[in-house]
């Protein structure tokens, strides 16, 4: 079942090419819903056990996949948001075949990232998710996309190539027979070599997180993407750095993680605050959300790097649900753009005519700025709580960004949705048809898991304990 879940979207993506034009939306929607359903079935069944076969025996590369704990949570979120993205694509984009195809292809890459339990397989999926993202930007992007594209690709690949070297190094210096995570953990690398390999691994994850100073691709990527926000949703899902660090970084490089902890936590806290500060001055909704996401990712990094149980659980929780509400916010921006033709934050007065859109957006923003009762709060609070036990001052600095978050989010919301309606402004329609579902579904999820976090915590907590136990506990 797990293999079906991983590769079904890719099959669907290829199937779309052979599907008559008028059925493409239905087929894509069906495939993505089916993938989500499979994910829920796996969840009901208590996760998918590790499955491992040799892929390239001569090189020690295996095809090892499993979906449990953190990875299952993230896979479910990915499947959900891909479904939402497909729904919105079908409605918003003219002749959406190519876009739907790319969304589904990317979903396979993302699910593969979370399922992979072999480092080379992880790398393969990691890069595979990149290609559709690049194509979305190339086909549907705005005029300056070439610069954004080159920047995005160069940063990402710069990191991942160093990671590839680290991957080879981990196996070679540790003497493991295969690249399977279980084998690599049995044959750890010792001493200074571990630190260097960790730095190589970190390079890729820091780009993906993203962590200052490797974040510069992010705002351009979102700004130049298609107005609908669909590519942005997929881009949000692609921020798998925190997950990679947690699933592979900590078990493989325990000593180096402890050694570099203060520096990395410092970087993470700085990223959170710095991004919130920059977000405050953005006048473009997409850039604003991009920087807000960057700030959240600072929190995720802070949680993972702190090696503290509470903080790491919070980081994974935040990582999962940040995808939900940030993704939905990008789609809300897409709807705003469709209605007023601009994604400037100074539009003004939209609320008077599109109350539901405004209300939904605001609720999603509340989730994003960690208002209690919504999913963002659980994550951010846990991260701060845990990080405080390790580095109180850094937790304080990061904590400041929650105040900044309220400032940038509410200011931008106020200037867009309230204030005076400009004279001669077009009549703005409210939410229609599936748009209710597109924004409503993520909001319900954010609300549900903000109030009742147990289902997600039950998945995340044991996994985090398991990983941190290998570090000798801290």
């Amino acid at each position: 079942m797990i293999h079906l879940m991983i590769f079904l979207p890719l099959l669907g993506s290829l199937l779309l090419l052979a599907t008559p034009r008028r059925w493409r939306e239905e087929v894509a929607g069906f495939i993505s819903a089916l993938t989500l359903g499979l994910g829920l079935l796996i969840w009901r069944g208590g996760g998918a056990e590790l499955f491992s076969v040799n892929w390239v025996p001569a090189l020690g590369v295996t095809y090892s996949v499993a979906l449990d704990g953190v990875s299952l949570t993230l896979a479910l979120v990915t499947a959900l948001m891909s479904f939402v993205a497909v729904l919105y694509t079908a409605r918003r984009i003219e002749n959406p075949g190519t876009m739907l195809s790319l969304v589904l292809a990317m979903e396979t890459g993302l699910l593969g990232i979370f399922a992979a339990r072999d480092l080379v397989l992880f790398y393969v999926f990691f890069e595979d998710a990149l290609l559709p993202a690049l194509l979305m930007l190339a086909i549907y992007g705005k005029p300056n996309r070439m610069r954004a594209l080159v920047k995005f690709a160069a940063y990402t690949l710069f990191g991942s190539l160093l990671m590839l070297l680290s991957i080879i190094g981990v196996k070679y210096y540790g003497g493991s027979p295969t690249f399977a995570l279980a084998d690599l953990v049995q044959h750890p690398v010792k001493g200074a070599a571990q630190t260097w390999l960790y730095l190589g691994f970190l390079a890729a994850m820091a780009v993906k997180l993203p962590l200052w100073p490797l974040h510069a691709w992010l705002p351009d990527f979102h700004e130049q993407n298609h107005d609908s926000g669909v590519p942005d949703v997929m881009g949000t899902l692609y921020k798998v750095g925190g997950y990679g660090l947690f699933q592979f970084g900590l078990p493989l490089f325990p000593d180096a993680s402890t050694e570099l902890r203060p520096i990395l936590m410092g970087l993470a806290a700085f990223t959170a605050l710095y991004a919130a500060w920059i977000a405050f001055r953005q006048t473009d909704w997409k850039r604003l959300i991009a920087y807000a996401g960057l700030s959240h990712m600072g929190f995720v990094a802070l949680g993972v790097f702190s090696l503290n149980e509470t903080a790491t659980i919070g980081a994974m929780y935040l990582l999962a649900f940040q995808n939900v509400y940030t993704g939905a916010l990008f789609l809300a921006v897409g709807m705003l753009q469709e209605r007023v033709g601009s994604i400037n934050t100074r539009v003004g007065g939209v609320m008077t005519q599109a109350g539901a859109l405004g209300g939904m957006t605001m609720a999603l923003w509340f989730a994003s700025i960690a208002v209690p009762g919504l999913a963002g709060f659980v994550g951010e609070f846990s991260v701060l709580l845990g990080a405080y036990q390790v580095q109180p001052w850094l937790a304080f600095i990061a904590g400041l960004s929650t105040i900044a978050a309220a400032a940038y989010a509410l200011t931008a919301f106020q200037t867009t949705f309230w204030q005076g309606r400009p004279l001669g402004g077009v009549r703005v329609a409210d939410l229609r048809h599936t748009e209710w579902l597109v924004l409503g579904l993520p909001l319900v999820v954010a609300l549900f898991f903000g109030v009742y976090s147990a289902p997600a915590l039950n998945l995340i907590q044991p996994a985090v304990r398991g990983v941190l136990a290998t570090l000798g506990g801290s």
Partner: protein, 482 residues
């Protein structure tokens, strides 16, 4: 009474079949149209491949070990045959437009293939040199054959620099012979162990001269200068041939000499790592600034030389397997990319990168295929280029060249930028009229492209199909014929 020497012909079979094709093209060219000859030659290539399959695991040798059909030779030989077949297929469609559609083109090509096979099958330095010269001389003619200023210039440049490279190589062979008293790979490898200091100096000198000579042939910087001019000046089908088959053969020679005969000789590896570093930097940096797509592919061939040469730094078991895998993948993806250029270009100058804008909306299949080739060249999974690059990194790391592997990773980032730019341009919407040759898609070229793209995709998802064959370290441990 004259006695005919006993010659064991079986290991010669693959070479002889190809040679028969060349001779047939020369003679029958007066009676048959060129297309018929091309089909005959394609059949010859297939026959040669079958004969190689027959020789698999036989380990036969002829001329007292001067020519040996061991498994290493067969694996490299198959790659050479594949590249040659792809060249012939593309030339079916484009030779007429490129004004090289006469029997001599086929004859020269087949002579060149004969030379390349001789290199792969060589058991001593003289056989290798003969093969190299046959290949090079035919190559000079092929590059010049088109009646144009550019082709003349490129051919002359190729000839002058190639001749200089050959001279250096021959000088190196003389040194190695002087030091070890043997021309046979196995003999040299046996002698390298217990040499007097004086002889050792001569051996190192010879090894370095050989390295320089080979560096000319495979285009390692700083001996690469002829490459972009020749590759971009020659007719595109010839560029395809030069950048794949000829390079495979030259690397096969390098593998024989440095992985086998001189494996334990001191001195060459440290120099080679410097050459590789320079190649990676120069090749990738220069590609970054090309505006002509064909020229960019030429520089990218230089950059790939750097990756390929990294495999020489590993142990023969690991490095040889890595090189054999990489060479096949490199042949597939480069040949397919050049085939697309050959099909779509308006003139033999190739295409400007900016001309590729919107190709997806005009020739969707070709655009997707070219994107796959470029992604593979850039080393992105799931295409086979990824495993090639991976193996090269692994070989360098196992040889202890960590800094070189890191440098290669950094250089790859530049590579990604220049590969991705055209790849992405193709998918951007475009309103200007098409800039391609109007009748560009022909069955043979399309078949070649499909072969390359399917090849890199399948080998990328299931690398074991080819790597499983080449990974046996026994094949590469016996490079020197022991």
């Amino acid at each position: 009474m004259l006695t005919v020497p006993e010659v064991h012909l079986a290991p010669l079979l693959p070479v002889l079949i190809v040679l028969a094709g060349a001779v047939a093209s020369t003679v029958l060219g007066f009676h048959l149209p060129r297309r018929a000859l091309t089909f005959i030659n394609l059949a010859m290539l297939v026959l040669s491949g079958i004969s190689m399959g027959y020789l698999w695991n036989s380990g036969e040798a002829a001329f007292g070990g001067a020519l040996q059909a061991d498994n290493a030779a067969i694996l490299l030989g198959l790659t050479i045959l594949l590249g040659s077949a792809m060249t012939l297929l593309v030339s079916l469609d484009t030779a007429f437009r490129a004004r090289v559609s006469f029997p001599e083109f086929d004859a020269m090509l087949m002579y060149a293939v004969t030379g390349t096979l001789l290199i792969a099958f060589s058991g001593d330095l003289i056989t290798m040199l003969i093969g190299l010269e046959i290949m090079s001389l035919s190559g000079y003619v092929l590059a010049t054959m088109q009646d144009s200023r550019q082709a003349e210039e490129s051919g002359l440049k190729y000839f002058l620099l190639g001749a200089a490279g050959s001279a250096v190589l021959i000088y190196g062979i003389a040194f190695v012979y002087g030091a070890t008293g043997s021309l046979n790979y196995a003999g040299i490898a046996a002698k390298t162990a217990g040499l007097t200091p004086g002889n050792l100096g001569v051996l190192v000198g010879g090894a370095l001269l050989l390295l320089a000579g080979f560096a000319f042939k495979v285009a390692l910087a700083p001996f690469h200068q002829w490459t972009p001019d020749v590759y971009s000046g020659a007719p595109t089908s010839v560029s395809l041939f030069l950048s794949t088959v000829v390079k495979v053969a030259a690397f096969a020679g390098m593998l024989r000499v440095f992985g086998g005969a001189l494996q334990n000789a001191p001195g060459w590896a440290p120099v080679l790592q410097i050459l590789i570093a320079v190649t990676l930097i120069v090749g990738n940096a220069a590609s970054l600034f090309q505006t002509n797509f064909k020229r960019m592919l030429a520089y990218s061939a230089v950059a790939h030389t750097g990756f390929l040469a990294m495999t020489l730094l590993g142990t023969p078991g690991m490095g040889g397997a890595a090189m054999a895998y990489y060479l096949l993948v490199y042949t597939l993806m480069t040949a397919a990319a050049f085939a697309i250029v050959a099909a779509l270009q308006r003139s033999e100058k190739g295409m400007e990168i900016s001309d590729l804008r919107g190709l997806y909306y005009r020739h969707p299949a070709y655009a997707v295929a070219l994107a796959a080739c470029l992604a593979s060249l850039a080393g992105l999974p799931p295409f086979a280029g990824f495993f090639g690059k991976y193996l090269a990194f692994q070989a360098a790391l196992q040889g202890g060249y960590v800094w070189l592997a890191v440098l290669a990773a950094l250089a790859s980032v530049a590579a990604l930028v220049y590969y991705l730019r055209p790849a992405m341009l193709m998918f951007m919407p475009d309103r200007t009229p098409a800039r391609e040759y109007a009748h560009g898609e022909r069955p043979a070229t399309t078949f070649t492209v499909a072969l390359g793209v399917i090849g890199v995709t399948v080998l990328g998802i299931l690398p074991n199909l080819w790597y499983g064959w080449v990974a046996n370290p026994g094949i590469w441990g016996a490079l020197a014929g022991r």
